[in-house]
């Protein structure tokens, strides 16, 4: 075994490099066949060796911190529930030379072209079946072959616009394709996040190594999406299955990164053959939809009737040619495992060339010759469902080692259900270095490579998404268990240009109008505003209650009873330190925010989650009284932090308006409720001071009124004073202003129902006096304000 030298710079620690041994007969990225460290890796390895344990921990910590801060997670399903998991980053990127990558890219471009041609045929003339290149049952029996799409020609001329390939190195060191991802490939956004995180860990190495940037790929794909629009004002959106999808984070993230909107099926409708988004400004046409939803869910009317996340009429819009979908519905058929058995011949037939990169050797067991082949030598073969679209290392239990079956059982399965089975060579992966407990050790890997169709043809992302196995076991099946993800660095001999998402401007500068806000997003923002404000109201009330409890040591004061009634109206049990009702309200805020994550800065999202998590942690240990009062003060500061982040940083357009409307509406409702109860003529002693405390207006009251607290001063300050940001009047003025700027507030001088009701409400409060605004009028006012919410919902949020 040759020794491993690191370019003569062997200072510091070894990091396990001298003990690093590739597995027998398994190619390795770090160590070449000659037993020597590949030159490509010298710089990174010697950098790692040069770091002290503390510095290394700090470097990898920076990467992890970045991922936490930006809220990267994936959703994991298991035992009946799903949870968000932190992103498992492997801290050593996979390094590739530019030349190797170019070869691999060319082969994958060929494959993308081949799949496009196959798709055009199976959704067109079906010559491949007629001429014997594809068995008819592979098409007709395939659940991903969507019959309503047969004969539908894509508006753009192409079925495929964004594809990915899962590839691995075989035992001979050559790449092969493990799976085709054509339905709705995920991972490109995660690749970008892995890149940012990894480059944070190794800033110097990254800067000095001529690593190809990823941004160019996204910029060109964004431009390609925009180029697919039928006119300049057309819209591009990403269609998501919703927040419960395992890669929703990535979808929201990419939408934000590309500057396109993220829509769900219920946001869309089809009108006169055109796909439309329901927005707060009415229906707006959508030209290009990047679909991250499996095809059969897209339209319950013509595809899977059980789908609750689709849009009735989607197929009709495609049929009428007014919509370009990335990728066209039905593209999942290309992921069929059995198709791999036919692609080598199809390449010859359709492209007149052999496959430049082979795929896993595959035998479709629907024909006698293939069955005989499998029976003759089942060793090293995996038996799997022919129509499976899973990755070789997903879907545990789907695949069986053929040799593990008794020959009679194998023969029976092949005879009874051959056409539904494929035999595939069991995949063994190559290894790449991973950092485990400060030591560099070999771990199996596979790569996902992304291709986007642009104006100049297929473009391959200069990088990718690497899966790293959790154990040294290089069989693909072992990849099911855990594992992590790594960045992929394509290293150039020459300097690489820095690229940013902002395209170099050609033509005159033009500020583009912000896109219309989908009604569902507006609804979620409105409720987010309400829930956050409601949480604040509850926290203030609870704090006031616990302070008094700590001071008097008794819970049964008449004032406590009043407060408990108010809290109970929000479903909160005032006797707990951090009651469940408060956690539920915060949870509802998080859920609403989660629905509109593409419209949030990562900071805002982190702040809200931090708030929610803090409250939950506190709930377990906080006791009533002083302890609770202090915890609630901490929560109040976090709430202020979130509100500050959102209100300071959100672009002042419809999204912000609905959030503000929600907040102001809730604040008005809350304050009226407090006054109706605590400023009532019969309220117990101390109630008026409590009002001022809940209204966070103690100082103002002292400054404005040199007299003692009275019902009149309280009502004046908290209900009628337009200058007090906590007063009812202030909320109503704010709401009136917001409502007037919403679309359709006034048409030809005619006020909308909402604008009219708003104005009436404002007049009512502007003309009220402390005397006239008694408890009865407050209750009436509360009804008027509550009605505004219904009118708003009716006008904009449906």
């Amino acid at each position: 075994m040759a020794s491993v030298q690191t370019g003569g710079q062997a200072k510091g620690r070894d990091r396990g490099v001298s003990a690093y041994r590739p597995l027998p007969d398994v190619p390795d990225e770090l160590i070449g066949p000659d037993g020597l460290l590949r030159p490509l890796w010298h710089q990174l390895i010697s950098h790692l060796q040069g770091l002290s344990d503390e510095d290394l921990a700090r470097a990898t910590g920076r990467a992890d911190q970045y991922l936490r801060d930006s809220g990267v997670f994936y959703r994991q399903y298991g035992s009946g529930q799903s949870v968000e998991r932190p992103w498992p980053l492997s801290h050593i990127p996979v390094l590739m030379t530019e030349a190797d990558w170019a070869g691999l890219s060319a082969a994958l471009v060929q494959r993308a072209d081949l799949l496009e041609a196959v798709m055009a045929d199976v959704y067109g003339e079906n010559r491949l079946v007629a001429d014997g290149f594809l068995p008819p049952s592979l098409v007709a029996g395939n659940p991903e072959w969507l019959r309503p799409l047969v004969g539908v020609r894509p508006a753009s001329g192409y079925f495929l616009h964004f594809v990915a390939f899962e590839i691995g190195r075989g035992p001979d060191g050559k790449w092969w394709v493990l799976a085709d991802r054509t339905q709705a490939p995920s991972g490109a956004g995660y690749a970008l996040e892995n890149r940012v995180a990894t480059s944070r860990a190794y800033t110097d190495v990254f800067a000095g190594q001529n690593v190809h940037r990823l941004a160019a790929f996204f910029r060109d794909f964004r431009d390609a999406l925009l180029g697919l629009r039928t006119d300049r004002d057309g819209r591009v959106a990403i269609l998501t299955p919703g927040p419960m999808n395992e890669t929703y984070f990535e979808q929201a993230w990419i939408a934000r990164y590309l500057g396109v909107s993220l829509v769900q099926g219920e946001d869309l409708t089809v009108e006169n053959g055109h796909l439309m988004v329901r927005t707060v400004s009415g229906l707006r046409p959508l030209d290009v939809l990047w679909r991250r939803m499996d095809g059969s869910f897209a339209d319950p009317l013509e595809l899977d009737p059980a789908s609750r996340i689709g849009t009735p009429g989607m197929v009709s819009a495609l049929r009428q040619g007014g919509l370009t979908m990335v990728n066209c519905l039905g593209s999942g058929v290309l992921e069929t495992r059995a198709l791999m058995a036919f692609l080598p011949k199809l390449a010859q037939h359709l492209l007149n060339a052999p496959l430049a990169m082979p795929n896993i050797a595959t035998w479709w067991c629907g024909s006698e010759a293939e069955r005989a082949r499998v029976m003759a030598d089942p060793s090293g073969l995996v038996l799997a469902p022919a129509f499976s679209t899973g990755l070789p290392f997903d879907h545990a239990g789907e695949s069986t080692l053929a040799a593990s079956l008794a020959p009679a059982e194998l023969a029976r399965r092949l005879r009874d259900a051959g056409a539904t089975l494929v035999a595939q060579e069991a995949v063994t992966l190559s290894t790449t270095p991973a950092l485990i407990d400060g030591q560099i050790v070999p771990r199996p890997m596979s790569l996902r490579v992304f291709l986007a169709r642009t104006a100049s043809g297929w473009q391959v992302m200069q990088g990718g998404f690497a899966r790293i196995g959790a154990t040294p076991d290089p069989t693909a099946l072992a990849m099911q268990r855990g594992g992590s993800a790594a960045d992929v660095w394509i290293i150039s001999k020459d300097e690489v240009p820095a690229v940013s998402m902002v395209a170099p401007s050609s033509g005159p500068y033009r500020r583009s109008a912000p896109g219309a806000l989908p009604a569902r997003a507006a609804d979620n923002l409105f409720w987010l505003g309400r829930y956050v404000e409601r949480s604040e109201g509850i926290v203030r009330m609870l704090r006031a209650r616990h302070i008094r409890l700590a001071e008097s040591g008794r819970a049964a004061l008449p004032l406590q009873g009043k407060m408990d009634d108010l809290l109970a109206s929000y479903g909160v049990d005032g006797s707990d330190g951090i009651p469940q009702g408060l956690l539920d309200t915060l949870g509802a805020a998080v859920t609403s925010a989660g629905q509109v994550r593409d419209r949030f800065s990562p900071d805002g999202w982190s702040a809200l989650n931090d708030l929610d998590k803090s409250a939950r942690r506190m709930a377990d240990r906080v006791t009533a009284g002083d302890d609770a009062a202090r915890a609630l003060s901490a929560l109040l500061r976090k709430l202020a932090g979130f509100s500050g982040l959102v209100h300071e940083n959100m672009y002042r357009f419809f999204g912000w308006r609905f959030l503000s409307i929600g907040r102001q509406h809730e604040r008005a409702m809350g304050m009226i409720g407090v006054l109706a109860s605590l400023a009532d003529a019969k309220a117990p002693p101390g109630a008026l001071d409590l009002c001022i405390e809940l209204g966070d207006s103690v100082l103002t009251h002292r400054r404005r009124f040199s007299v003692a607290t009275s019902r009149e001063t309280v009502i004046d300050l908290l209900a009628l004073d337009p200058m007090n940001p906590r007063s009812v009047r202030h909320q109503i003025d704010g709401l009136t202003e917001q409502v007037q700027t919403l679309p359709g507030a006034a048409t030809h001088g005619q006020l909308s129902d909402l604008a009219r009701a708003m104005l009436r409400c404002q007049t009512e409060i502007a003309t009220a006096t402390p005397e006239s605004l008694d408890t009865e009028s407050l209750i009436a006012l509360r009804g008027t304000v509550a009605e505004l919410s219904d009118l708003l919902t009716e006008a904009y949020l449906r």
Binding site: V129, G132, A140, G141, N272, L301, P305, G313, S316
Partner: protein, 293 residues
């Protein structure tokens, strides 16, 4: 040849005004080469809606596509048509022996809408059922032709099942209806399709109409007051498709009028819709078929 005049009326009442929604109607008779010609067909909706289109689906069925405005409290659909049926009523059995079907299928390189390959295996509403498969096996003998298989299975099923409009709904699966041994034409047809597929015979579900006035001297057929469903089985290259009506235990010739066929009810359901119904919905429909001289 028999010529028919056909009239369908569907009426819906909505207890509360509906939201906007899309509906597909598959009620128009379709031309079938060699079997059925459509002389004229027209459809009208009341209230009429602006956003309405028509297309032909994968299996060749004419589909009326309507975007319903919100606020409907009722909906009426009227369809009138004139159709010629030209079925060959000869009973000559030139179908393949059951054992010969697999190689014929393997050689059949086509996935067009009339290809038998669509009608093997299971579909959403006709899942594989061991019970139905066992029943089918019990009703055939070795060396039967496909036509004989169809005949024996159809008659056996007709004996096993009781026609009962109360026992099932449009959502009932083949297996559920078989266990109850009760149902309507949809259930009879779906069970028979499942049985034939379990034997390796490609079988389609056919939706259409049945003449209401019986020919002189013949009894009135069950299901005649409504839309009807039957079975279409692939009997080899030479004979092609054979239609059989298990509800009435007879081969289908000229008493039936085709609307369309598919893998199961879902492919040819007369009304597919996304009307968001807040309140309840009640509907009725009537069919009038008159044989023209």
């Amino acid at each position: 040849m028999t010529r028919y005049s056909l009239r369908l009326a569907i009426h819906y009442d909505f207890a509360r005004p509906t939201g906007a929604g899309r509906q597909l109607f598959r009620v128009l008779p379709a031309p079938v080469p060699g079997l059925q010609q459509v002389r004229r067909a027209a459809i009208s909706l009341d209230p009429a809606t602006g956003d309405r289109g028509e297309f032909t689906d994968f299996f060749g069925t004419r589909v009326i596509e309507v975007a319903m405005p919100p606020g409907l409290t009722r909906l009426d659909l009227q369809m009138t048509a004139e159709v010629d049926r030209m079925a060959d009523e000869s009973l000559l059995d030139i179908s393949a022996p059951l054992g010969q079907l697999a190689p014929e299928l393997a050689a059949h390189r086509d996935v067009g809408c009339r290809s038998p390959h669509h009608f093997l295996g299971q579909s959403r509403r006709i899942l594989q059922s061991a019970r139905i498969a066992a029943f089918a096996r019990d009703h055939i003998a070795p060396r039967m032709t496909v036509r004989e298989v169809v005949d024996h299975l159809g008659k056996g099923l007709h004996r096993h099942m009781t026609f009962d409009p109360e026992a099932t709904s449009v959502e009932t699966t083949a297996d559920e209806a078989f266990v109850q041994a009760r149902g309507v034409c949809q259930d009879f047809a779906q069970i028979m399709v499942g049985g034939l597929r379990s034997l390796g015979v490609p079988a389609a579900y056919v939706a259409g109409y049945l003449r209401t006035d019986p020919p002189p001297g013949k009894p009135r057929l069950a299901g005649a007051d409504a839309m009807h469903a039957w079975v279409r089985a692939w009997s080899g290259e030479e004979m092609g498709w054979v239609d059989y009506d298990p509800t009435n235990a007879c081969f289908v010739f000229n008493d039936h009028i085709d609307v369309g066929f598919g893998r199961d009810y879902g492919d040819v359901a007369p009304v597919t819709g996304m009307l968001r119904l807040v309140g309840s919905q009640s509907g009725s429909h009537s069919v009038d078929i008159e044989a023209l001289p």
